[in-house]
């Protein structure tokens, strides 16, 4: 059976249906923010080290920390918390507007000998 013969084929890059399309669009934005922050910050730190004296990085402090320590060690984890929070706010609104499935378990595993059942 080829993938296209079923009406249920999808992937992250080829979402199907409005709900999934909207969800993947937001996920892509969050992942872009995540990736750019990580790689961008390290390229920035690398370029600072290459182009300026080492002394500058030591003297250029932010909240008491050398800029590269603050940017990587303090800001990035904070940024992750922020984007996770934004994602959850969006999901809460999106889930309540579009479907009522968020918040429920579709399936559960029962004890041995019983069939799986949906809630």
């Amino acid at each position: 059976m080829d993938e296209n013969t079923t009406g249920k084929s999808f992937s992250f890059f080829r979402p199907r249906g409005e709900t999934m399309r909207r969800e993947t669009r937001v996920i892509k934005m969050i992942l872009a923010g995540w990736l750019i922050a990580i790689v961008g910050s390290q390229i920035y730190v690398y370029l600072l080290e290459v182009n300026y004296s080492a002394l500058l990085l030591d003297e250029w402090t932010f909240f008491n920390l050398p800029i590269h320590f603050w940017l990587t060690g303090q800001f990035l984890p904070l940024w992750f918390i922020i984007i996770c929070g934004l994602f959850n706010f969006w999901m809460d609104r999106h889930a309540s507007n579009v479907n009522s499935l968020d918040g429920s378990l579709r399936f559960r595993v029962k004890s041995a000998g019983e069939e799986e059942d949906s809630w």
Binding site: M1, D2, E3, T6, K8, S9, F10, S11, F12, P15, R16, G17, T19, M20, E23, I27, L31, W34, I38, V39, Q42, I43, V45, Y46, E49, A54, L55, L56, L57, D58, T61, F63, N64, L65, P66, F69, T72, G73, Q74, L76, P77, L78, F80, I81, C84, F87, N88, M91, D92, L101, D102, G103, S104, L105, R106, F107, R108, V109, A112, E116
Partner: protein, 507 residues
């Protein structure tokens, strides 16, 4: 840090803390039996977050991370970013979707999604290998703390620490104590941050937020001793940093005991917000850990103690070194040791128990004894727990790195195997059993390749470093999964319908 005297007060604090945990666990158990099997009792989203953070905390977080800062300076920031950034992947790509499968372990998930007993069994084997590797890091932490507390050498401390862990699991299990993870997190965070506040206050730095205050120590190290942390990529490359960082992120999103948190929470929204709170609680530790490494260096410099980059044991004990050289009261040092011991004990006990459960549930009745009764499975789980503890003990006698490096190796294996299996299983309906088995086997080969071919082919070690192989490895595994899945029969129509309708709400 090894001396020949018993640290009486710290030892009493460690024993007292474990007694409190067991008593609290018994009270919880009596008050409310957990409905979710893998969890303790939950009290709202903050409670779920504290439970996630408590479950996450291990010797690697409590002792190993500070040790990496002490040894490698800025390079260790890859651990901070990797171990927090992985939760973003976990939240946006997996947390909600995993819950919708309603499966309660990684082998369960893989077996169900890929409709394959072979894939399920392979996942169980990989999970057990991950458990063993990760437990070596925990046992090393336990051994170093036991060595310090009892004033004995490293090798006897490994044996004593292992016996103590087995006794702890047996006593907790016999008494029926469950983990009060919220209490444990509160104790861990207090044990970690209070000594840091006292140290920075003593040094005259900004002590209210020692996570920022330690910046002054970096300046002092440079001004007084000419020691510079200001060239982040002097001894490493940008590739090495990113490879480690992304490996830890992929591994975080693929570690079985992290994934299991999402099966164990009542609602999807609670699971999602629990991740955010969990990430915040974890970040509190990781914002603080670099300070211990920096302060230990400062105190050593002030005491004319030469820095030895090859002393892994000293590096793994810098949290206690900083507190000791900083002249903190003994009870504070005891609290710190108790926190480290608690983190290492709970992480290794949880891992070994889940590994034993995986053996008794996924391997024993399928490969060894098909007619195994429930009693047989329980017996097999107990026996395999002891076997794994023995294997980990032997490996801990001669570990291949410091705590954080050993843990990173486990993350690399998880990132090369479980992470791609979950990611494509959730987000690509065409991924099939042949693809996932081929992919996971490729992931295992990639993870161990530096050990096997590293000497003969130096390029292998450069592209797939032992602790950082998933940066290139995980995408490679996904390519293998995609190609093999494309060349073989697709999953059943029912599974694709389930994915479309029940997991992704495709209209």
């Amino acid at each position: 840090m090894v001396n020949s005297t018993v640290q009486v007060l710290p030892l009493a604090i460690v024993v007292g803390l474990f007694a409190i945990f067991i008593i609290s666990g018994l009270r919880h158990h009596a008050r409310k039996q957990s409905e979710y099997g893998l969890s303790g009792v939950y009290t709202g989203r903050i409670g779920i977050g504290a439970a996630i953070a408590s479950n996450w905390m291990s010797a690697a977080s409590f002792l190993g991370l500070a040790g990496m800062f002490y040894l490698k300076g800025y390079f260790a920031m890859a651990f901070v970013v990797g171990w927090t950034g992985g939760y973003v992947l976990l939240l946006v790509l997996m947390a909600s979707q995993i819950r919708r499968f309603g499966k309660f372990s990684a082998p369960d998930f893989v077996g169900f999604r890929y409709e394959s007993e072979g894939a399920r069994t392979l996942t169980a084997f990989i999970l057990i290998i991950i458990t063993i590797i990760y437990s070596v890091a925990q046992f090393r932490g336990i051994a170093l703390l036991v060595s310090w507390l009892l004033g004995i050498g490293y090798v006897p401390a490994v044996i004593v620490g292992s016996l103590l862990l087995v006794m702890f699991v047996v006593v907790s299990g016999t008494l029926g104590a469950t983990r009060n993870q919220q209490l444990q997190y509160f104790v861990l965070i207090t044990a970690f941050i209070l000594p840091l506040m006292l140290l920075t206050r003593k040094l005259g730095y900004f002590w209210i937020l020692p996570q920022f205050g330690y910046g002054a120590a970096i300046s002092d190290l440079y001004l007084q001793f000419g020691f510079a942390w200001s060239e982040p990529f002097l001894n490493t490359t940008l590739f090495q940093w990113l490879a480690l960082c992304f490996t830890l992120m992929f591994g975080t999103a693929g570690l079985p005991h992290v994934l299991s948190r999402f099966y164990a929470v009542p609602g999807i929204r609670d699971a999602r917000w629990g991740v955010v709170w969990g990430l915040f609680f974890i970040a509190l530790i990781y914002w603080s850990a670099p300070a211990y490494g920096v302060l230990a260096r400062l105190f050593e410099a002030r005491n004319n103690i030469p820095f030895n980059a090859g002393d892994g044991q000293a590096a793994d004990m810098v949290v206690l070194t900083a507190a000791t050289l900083g002249g903190l009261p003994v009870w504070v040092i005891g609290l710190l040791a108790a926190g480290g011991m608690s983190a290492a004990f709970s992480a290794s006990a949880g891992l070994l128990l889940s590994g034993a459960a995986s053996f008794s549930y996924d391997i024993y009745p399928r490969l060894i004894r098909r007619d195994a009764s429930e009693n047989d499975k329980i017996f097999a789980a107990k026996g395999f727990f002891l076997i794994m503890a023995a294997i980990v003990t032997v490996l801990t006698l001669k570990p291949w790195g410091v705590i954080a490096e050993i843990a990173a190796f486990a993350f690399a294996l998880a990132g090369n195997t479980i992470f791609p299996a979950f990611l494509l299983g959730i987000w690509w309906c065409r991924a099939n059993s042949t693809g996932v088995i081929s992919g996971m086997l490729t992931g295992v080969v990639i993870t161990f390749m530096p050990f096997i071919l590293g000497d003969a082919l130096p390029m292998v070690s450069r592209l797939f470093p032992v602790t950082s192989s998933a940066f290139i490895g995980a995408p490679l595994v996904m390519i293998v999964m995609i190609v093999v899945s494309r060349l073989t029969a697709p999953p059943s129509e029912e599974m694709r319908l389930f994915l479309a309708r029940d997991v992704h709400d495709c209209q």
